[in-house]
Subunit: 348 residues, 3 copies
């Protein structure tokens, strides 16, 4: 599958690791521990897979130092940060394909749109009036770029991904299939006299800075006024919802099915585990980490690790959760204490 081969020593150099075993072993690609053959490199990164590692026919294996000790006779590429080494090696074997410039005759590009000649526009993609599509962009089939939207260089819109009118993507922004940037924020005011929810036109935009990635069918709403903004290098997983006027700082990580309500503000390098949620107007300081399923209803200070719903510091949550797992017993014990105390005191 990969285009070329590397020696184990070349890969170790590229990944900043060291070789244990045969440095001139030729490797033609990567494969999982279970299926890798003698010319393939595998990756061992979790204690769950110790047996798969032991039984693997892989020619060599990328490991962290702690896994290296117990594997005599194996060819290893040992790296202090094995995940980073793995990432670099996958990238070496699988360089990003260079998309050929082409404008499919089945695409729709408004005459007033400015599409760089180096961009690739696939069938049934749509580029609206006044939109700008930068050099090297790829718009997959059925992708949508609305009126006046702007895409920087080398953006990739998967099939059916959508950037609505006026929204702005920086360079190298990647939208997985079906992702939506700039849908209307959820804003209504109840008109009691008319007995109806009056829609507040959402006239702001959404901005995704350079190197942002948005997962499949994830949504980032446009602002009511002003902008919703996702900072540089932030990565957002599938089916995440980011509400109107939210700010997410750079280099943050939002895992699958996270929900961020309107006007919340996340600092730089925030990490939200899967299905976590943040209430509207809440603030999360830089570097804070929220465990999966956390529900943030209070502001979270920078650098802290919180969990639970309502979210609380992770250590507190661990203690409370351990107690909660024995709550029925605790309740029974309190009833016993009551009974004994009543006997002792001769009264209720």
């Amino acid at each position: 599958m990969a285009a070329r081969t590397f020696t184990l020593a070349e890969l170790a150099a590229l990944a900043g690791g060291t070789v244990q075993g045969d440095p001139v072993l030729q490797l033609s690609g990567l494969a999982p521990l279970e299926s890798a053959g003698p010319a393939e490199l595998a990756y061992f990164n979790h204690a769950n897979y110790a047996q798969a590692f032991a039984q693997s026919a892989a020619g060599a294996v990328i490991v962290a130092g702690r896994f290296a000790v117990a594997s005599p006779g194996r060819n290893l590429l040992i790296a202090a940060d094995a995940a980073l080494a793995f990432a670099r090696i996958v990238r070496a074997f699988h360089p990003a394909p260079q998309a050929l410039a082409e404008r499919a005759p089945q695409a729709f590009v408004h005459p007033s749109a400015e599409v760089d000649p180096s961009a690739r526009i696939e069938p049934f993609a749509y580029v609206g009036a006044g939109a700008r599509v930068g050099p090297g962009c790829v718009l997959g089939p059925n992708a949508f770029v609305g009126e006046g939207a702007q895409l920087g260089a080398d953006c990739r819109l998967g099939p059916g991904a959508k950037v609505l009118h006026g929204c702005v993507l920086g360079a190298r922004v990647s939208l997985q299939p079906g992702a939506v940037v700039g849908g209307d924020g959820f804003g209504y005011a109840f008109d009691a006299a008319a007995g109806e929810h009056l829609k507040i036109p959402q006239v702001g935009i959404a901005v995704l800075e350079d190197d942002v990635e948005l997962g499949a069918n994830a949504c980032v709403d446009r602002a009511t006024l002003g902008e919703t903004r996702i900072g540089r290098g932030t990565k957002i997983d599938n089916l995440v919802q980011v509400g109107h006027n939210v700010t997410v700082g750079p280099r943050s990580i939002l895992c699958g099915q996270v929900g961020i309500a309107g006007s919340a503000k996340l600092g730089e390098g925030v990490v939200l585990g899967g299905q976590a949620a943040v209430a509207d107007h809440r603030q999360i300081g830089a570097g804070a980490k929220l465990a999966g399923r956390s529900g943030v209803t209070f502001d979270v200070p920078a650098g802290e690790v919180w969990a639970g719903f309502p979210a609380q510091p992770h250590r507190t949550w661990l203690r409370n959760t351990a107690a909660a797992a024995e709550l029925a017993e605790l309740s029974a014990e309190v009833r016993r204490l009551r009974a004994e105390l009543s006997r002792l005191g001769g009264k209720k």
Copy 2:
């Protein structure tokens, strides 16, 4: 950005508010507190933004009465219901654009479909056999209207929004990008003899009454038999799931990532906070409100406010949640009581 200007007094009259300051100030548009200039109107609606309000260069600010007292020298538009005033003013500055009737040559419209000549059908939109599309409708690029589906007047389907065969939208229904109306309900019966889940054909429909709005990538399933129905004026946020045969009453609000399981029945004016869920066949009375993350496993009476999982009355939940935040300490206290009681009583 806005098409015309208003004086502060004109806007106050339109919004049902009063002016504090210069009534003839000319305003050309709306902007956030942080970026508004001297010819722009901003909106101050949350204590978080007191400093932004104090420092804003906005020509005038919409506020509720409680925020008006501490702002001498500012031009204010004071409204009892500031959110409603804001909504009306945004609508004044940003009237809904009138879409030009057009049938893009790149669209597919089945010869037997009835599309009103005033409708706009954009490229790569699809209208199936026997479908009806009412006057003033707009079908965005890649939108889908299935066989026999019916759209009332002035519906808007964002890019990639889908209304499947036989489903019915009232007037002014708005589907944000990627929303799906009428996917198959999740219905199977396990055939033990064959050892497989037998699909139950979902032969009902989904109906969205007038003025319903459905968020980006949200889903409303068709019924097994009969219909799934969303009542007039109900607003549904992004990535919400509404199962088969559900009924949602009019003027309800379903926030982001809510999930409603099959055959649940929600009354009029129900509000579900983000990521809340309702189990199958449960009933929620009119006007009930469920906090974010609520999980409804019992019927909820009309007018009540519930929270938590399993959902319980909000006051109970608040008390229990406060106690849960100190559960580890409670458990320790019970152990201390046990020890002291043992000493006192001379026995376990």
Copy 3:
């Protein structure tokens, strides 16, 4: 709506049930209890609908034995497994429509793709280079089949459903509208020197075996290396997220908005209730059932029923949850015990 009529006895034979009442009653279709007429068959499956059953004008009703006793004078089709009987009868009245082979001139099919002549390719569908589409497949409008993807016989891709490059569907796989198979897994390694999340190219695939169904806007990510695999006959509801390198066994059920993090491994016949989640690398044994909203952070043994977050055995969860609903009172009781003990013991 249905194409033909059956007698009640014919339907009972077909469904493996028995008739109480008139065996030669002609029935022309199915309808809900509330709207069924005298030539229609309804279905009574939940105690909530006892009144609707009592008042129904349906010609006959499918019921389980336990509901049959209290209904003299009604025509009943009594089945031990009423849900299965219902499924079979719906299928009899509504046989799957046979799609006509056709390749819409508005579709894009790459010259190197192999599309069986019996397949139906609707407008604005896209079939990439080297893709294979088996006999009897239906690709709805705006559906996407990427480069080198393979679809077995009789697959159905709803409008806007997407199968990305290299991914593989078995026979009779059904993708509801907007579903995405093979979006990139969420894999990054933090490069501290560069201060950025380095994307790990996701070069594996996703495989959906025979008879898998994937709900509207649900997502199954491709693997980093190797494959993400959904076993034969597994059914997945709307807006579900399945991460990279996950394995789901055959005949499992994943309800709406479930989230499965990377490398989790689910056995055969696993059931996950709505909004349940499984942490990365966790394992769930065959036949295990997780209640709605469960959050799996430990491995779950085969055959067990678990609930809650962190997930625990269902019986434990029920007891703990009952205690949690009275936690504030328990806390108050402990304070009272402390006060009484202090009085008794003459000390804190």
